[in-house]
């Protein structure tokens, strides 16, 4: 009986070993210089990781947050020069793991990254400034500048804030003022009546800016924001490609490939000897998308997307 059990255990270990080898192709035996940790093994994270690999000439290992949290085998502590966490979950898992290499969190929203830092102030990597980030979301100034480029005469900018995006109200007001716009907003909660709150807000504005909040909020408000802004002929700036496809007149966002490229460039610029990491960075590469059908319906001629993109790039130089 004991022999049978031993054989079973041996087979189980063998299977686990094979599985680990399959998951981390470079293998722990010949560890690379960079470890990329994906929040999940899905397309957007993988595209970010692919772009990082394309623009780096270093040896790269790749794993997922789930594998790190469930890993029975000891991790090769200190063996990597940098760890790149793609997304919020990966960032949290890396900070919860014994991994000690400097951490670059990428493809992560600014607010999420800041919250993770504030939740773990005593973590050695955080306290020694061995962490940095490449944000996924666009700086507010860039989004409002896009609104200005589309509607040079707009004076009144409005937005709907949810439980999370409301934290950015002060920053948002500042960014609007910098573009000589007056910001008005509505705070929407779960039991808010969207028509009652959005209708007067949109009616009294020249431009509406959508800000990302929790997904449920984004999805439930989007329909009414799109409907009402269209009816009032108020152009809408969307925060994602999906928003532009759904009816926003334009939007600025970064693709996984662009975030991955910037992350790789960040690593290439770091000194060979690890020291403090630079402060987090907003997306350097971005895409502007316009919706010609929406523009036509609003009777609002807008510049081509590439013209807007170039204008934004020049304004930030």
């Amino acid at each position: 009986m004991q022999a049978t059990l031993n054989i079973k255990r041996y087979i189980l270990h063998l299977a686990l070993l094979c599985l680990c080898c399959a998951v981390v192709p470079a293998g722990r035996a010949t560890a690379g210089e960079i470890l990329i940790v994906l929040s999940q093994d899905i397309a957007s994270y993988k595209e970010t990781a692919r772009a990082i690999s394309q623009h780096l000439s270093l040896q790269i290992d790749q794993t997922t947050a789930e594998q790190i949290s469930e890993e029975d085998e000891p991790l090769p502590l200190g063996q990597y020069r940098y760890i790149i966490a793609v997304g919020a979950k990966a960032t949290r898992e890396v900070l919860n793991s014994p991994l000690t290499a400097p951490l670059i969190s990428t493809f992560i929203p600014r607010r999420t990254y800041q919250q993770i830092l504030s939740e773990n102030p005593l973590h050695p990597l955080i306290s020694s400034q061995q962490t940095t980030a490449v944000y996924l979301d666009q700086p507010l100034a860039r989004q409002i500048r896009l609104a200005r480029l589309i509607s040079p005469r707009a004076k009144r900018l409005s937005t709907a804030l949810g439980p999370d995006s409301s934290k950015d109200l002060a920053l948002l007001k500042q960014a609007a003022e910098a573009q000589q716009m007056v910001l008005s907003h509505a705070l929407l909660e779960q039991d808010s009546n969207p028509i009652r709150q959005l209708q007067p807000l949109i009616e009294n504005s020249d431009m509406f800016l959508t800000l990302p909040d929790r997904a449920v909020f984004n999805r439930t408000t989007a329909k009414w924001i799109l409907y009402i802004s269209f009816r009032q002929r108020v152009p809408l700036i969307g925060f994602s490609r999906k928003y532009v496809e759904a009816g926003a007149i334009a939007g600025v966002f970064s693709e996984p490939e662009q975030i991955g490229r910037q992350t790789a460039e960040l690593i290439n610029q770091l000194p060979a000897q690890p020291g403090q990491l630079p402060p987090p960075a907003v997306p350097k590469y971005f895409t502007v998308e316009t919706n010609e059908t929406a523009a036509h319906s609003l009777r609002m001629p807008i510049p081509a997307a590439d013209v807007l993109e170039t204008a934004l790039e020049e304004a930030e130089r």
Partner: protein
């Protein structure tokens, strides 16, 4: 394929009578309730009809064609069925000047019964006629945002009538600026249309309503005129971010003349109609992944055909003589004043009450599910078609589910099923398929389905007898239809291979190809059986007696040629082989009851932001419509070209005015649709609209 109309061949009485997964795949998981990148990438709510889930075209379990607003505006269509000519494989035709039939892959009479048609999720299938009465709808192309057409069986999503295809018409709501539109269309054959629409808001309520009037003189030969008025309203109330109530109400009423255009001297009969509907929908978002929808709707149609007036008796008598009825028999039948019978059987009162609960679940990444249950109560009261005064009813219960599972980044597995039962039958209709993403732009799809359509209330209960007048003690003269409560479900076993190409980029376009084989068996047909009566000793009984195989290929190519041009080319090749057993009349072939080729081409050029020109061309090859044509005299192939020139003026404020010149059958090549004498020449219209 049951044809109420067939009984009119026996005596002279005219009896007349359809996205997320890519995003979700890319959509990271939700981490607890914290804000994360998943929230930025979330889907902003796209094709719902195929699986009752918002899905991009590349991930639907069936072939889907979208007719979008751009196509609708370019089409020069005045009637909704005309828009459906742009869908590959679909045949839309005038049965008379103001009545229409829409079928998929032919094999139809003037009351196509194997396609489900919905407006905003409400079935508009009429139990009284077991078909859609397009002319009674208060719906014009200007009301429509888009039409989703499922090519092929779609029972797991849209119920038993979606046997060969399904159409969901989504009206324009929230996609027009607040304000009003006043429009009129004037043209050929006394066509006059007036329409007013308004959309706005009041505190917490979003609303829209429209009202309109239409009349024309009909075909020159038959004077089959129409006049109708209608009103529709829609209101949305949003008590919280997670709840939305939609209320839709409407009615239409008027009179339309219908008849058989197979003889030039046929008398067309006026049918008054009163139609109304109420639809209530509650949509509740449980969380990011789960949604509940509860919907109730009620449709009612009351159609009135007056008994034959004395002054019409000579014409009816003449028609009777052509059909071999002696004047003695005629007198026996109608008496001298001819007031005992209705000249058309499209008479009665019918209701549909439908309640449905739908649950949608979208997991972050791999798994999408929509399931539901529904209950439908249908009733018909008609002394013309049921030969009895009381109301006949049917209760149906259904359970349905659709599942999409992402096997790998390239493979999606689809599984769907409908279980439905009524008093007499129960049926299980499964569908399964696989989608394979060849490249981000190309998708292959393989689907298998077995669809069983429950016989409708009319098909089971139709009973038509002709009795003599009072002086003859109302003795039975002729039993035209005998009811058959033993009908089995019709069966459609189909296999299809689809290919979808959506090139990236601004002028990306779309190419959608479908190869299919559909084996239809136990299809309903009119079966002549012996029956002792005074006229012909036989009656028609609806019977599971037809079967055919349809094989073919169809495609649609949509392409922007330049920033100012776009074109849509649709083509369907459909080869049908089959037979129907008509009892005493023997076995008849069905091989030529579907056109081999159906094609359309739409092209629009925008000269400037306020001036556009569009051309639409249609082709249908020879077809022998059931009841509409004969083997000896099939409907000939036809070509038709329509054009539209539209000019917009921007007035002060947000006001604008538009004038459009529309010419249908531009080259004036006379052609007939469905019936030989239901012919069309060039016709012109002017449309004026003021938006303010």
């Amino acid at each position: 394929m049951i044809s109420i109309q067939r009984c009119c061949r026996l005596i002279p009485l005219t009896l007349q009578r359809l996205p997320v997964l890519a995003v979700l795949v890319a959509l990271p998981p939700v981490h607890a309730s914290d804000f994360s990148e998943a929230d930025l990438l979330t889907d902003i709510p796209t094709v719902v009809s195929a699986s009752r889930m918002p899905q991009p075209l590349a991930e639907t379990p069936a072939a889907v064609t979208l007719i979008d607003r751009e196509m609708i505006e370019a089409s020069a269509a005045l009637n909704v069925p005309d828009l459906l000519r742009l869908v590959p494989g679909i045949q839309a035709f005038h049965v008379s000047y103001n009545t229409f039939g829409v079928t998929y892959h032919g094999v139809s009479d003037n009351f196509p019964h194997q396609m489900e048609v919905q407006v905003n999720g409400r079935s508009i299938y009429i139990p009284l006629l077991s078909a859609v009465t397009w002319e009674t709808l208060g719906l014009v192309p200007d009301d429509i945002e888009r039409i989703e057409v499922i090519r092929g069986s779609n029972m797991p999503s849209q119920g038993t009538n979606a046997f060969l295809g399904a159409i969901n018409i989504i009206t324009r709501y929230g996609t027009r600026p607040e304000g009003s539109t006043l429009s009129t269309t004037q043209g050929e054959r006394g066509e006059q249309r007036y329409r007013f629409s308004h959309q706005g808001h009041a505190v917490a309520l979003d609303y829209q309503f429209n009202a309109g009037y239409q009349q024309n003189d009909g075909n020159k030969l038959f004077q089959d005129r129409i006049d109708k008025s209608y009103f529709n309203s829609r209101h949305s109330f949003t008590p919280s971010l997670n709840d939305q109530f939609d209320i839709q109400l409407g009615f239409s009423q008027g009179e339309v003349f219908t008849g058989d255009g197979d003889h030039s001297g046929n008398q067309f009969i006026g049918r008054e109609f009163h139609q109304n509907y109420q639809q209530l929908r509650w949509l509740h978002t449980l969380d990011l992944q789960q949604e509940l929808q509860l919907q109730f709707y009620r449709n009612r149609l009351k159609a009135d055909v007056d008994p034959i007036p004395a002054e019409a008796v000579p014409q009816v008598q003449e028609e009777a003589a052509r059909n071999g009825l002696s004047s003695e028999q005629f007198t026996q039948l109608l008496g001298i004043d001819g007031t005992l019978l209705r000249p058309s059987r499209e008479h009665g009162d019918t209701t549909v009450n439908d309640l449905e609960l739908l649950y949608r679940f979208q997991s972050a990444g791999r798994f999408n599910l929509s399931s539901g249950l529904g209950y439908r109560y249908e009733s018909i009261k008609s002394d013309a078609i049921l030969s009895r005064a009381d109301r006949q009813s049917s209760q149906r219960r259904r359970l349905f589910s659709n599942l999409s599972y992402q096997l790998s980044p390239e493979w999606i597995w689809h599984l769907g099923a409908l279980y439905e039962e009524d008093e007499r039958n129960r049926a299980f209709s499964p569908r399964t398929g696989l989608s394979y993403q060849l490249t981000p732009e190309q998708t292959l799809r393989l689907s298998l389905s077995r669809a069983r359509r429950l016989p409708s209330l009319l098909e089971r209960k139709i009973s038509v007898d002709i009795r003599q007048n009072a002086s003859n003690n109302f003795a039975l003269l002729d039993q035209q239809f005998c009811s058959n409560d033993e009908l089995k479900p019709e069966l459609n076993e189909s296999i299809e291979l689809g290919y979808l190409l959506r090139p990236a980029g601004k002028h990306g376009g779309l190419f959608d190809l479908r190869l299919y084989q559909e084996d239809i068996s136990d299809a309903l047909t009119d079966h002549f059986i012996p029956f002792a009566d005074q006229l012909d000793n036989r009656c028609i009984q609806v019977h599971n007696g037809a079967r055919w195989r349809a094989r073919g290929v169809e495609f649609q190519l949509k392409q922007s040629l330049s920033p100012a041009d776009f074109m849509v080319l649709s083509y369907g090749y459909n080869n049908v082989e089959g037979i129907e057993d008509r009892g005493l009349k023997g076995i008849e072939p069905l091989d030529d009851t579907a056109p081999l080729h159906t094609a359309s081409l739409l092209w629009k050029h925008q000269f400037s932001s306020d001036l556009s020109f569009s051309l639409a061309g249609y082709f249908m090859s020879t077809v022998n419509w059931l009841e509409g044509a004969t083997v000896a005299r099939p409907r000939k192939a036809y070509r038709r070209a329509d054009m539209q020139l539209a000019k917009l003026w921007r007035l002060r404020g947000d006001n604008e005015a538009e004038i459009a010149l529309i010419v249908q059958n531009l080259f004036d090549e006379e052609y007939s649709e469905f019936y030989e004498f239901n012919s069309f020449r060039r016709r012109g219209y002017v449309r004026l609209a003021l938006r303010y």
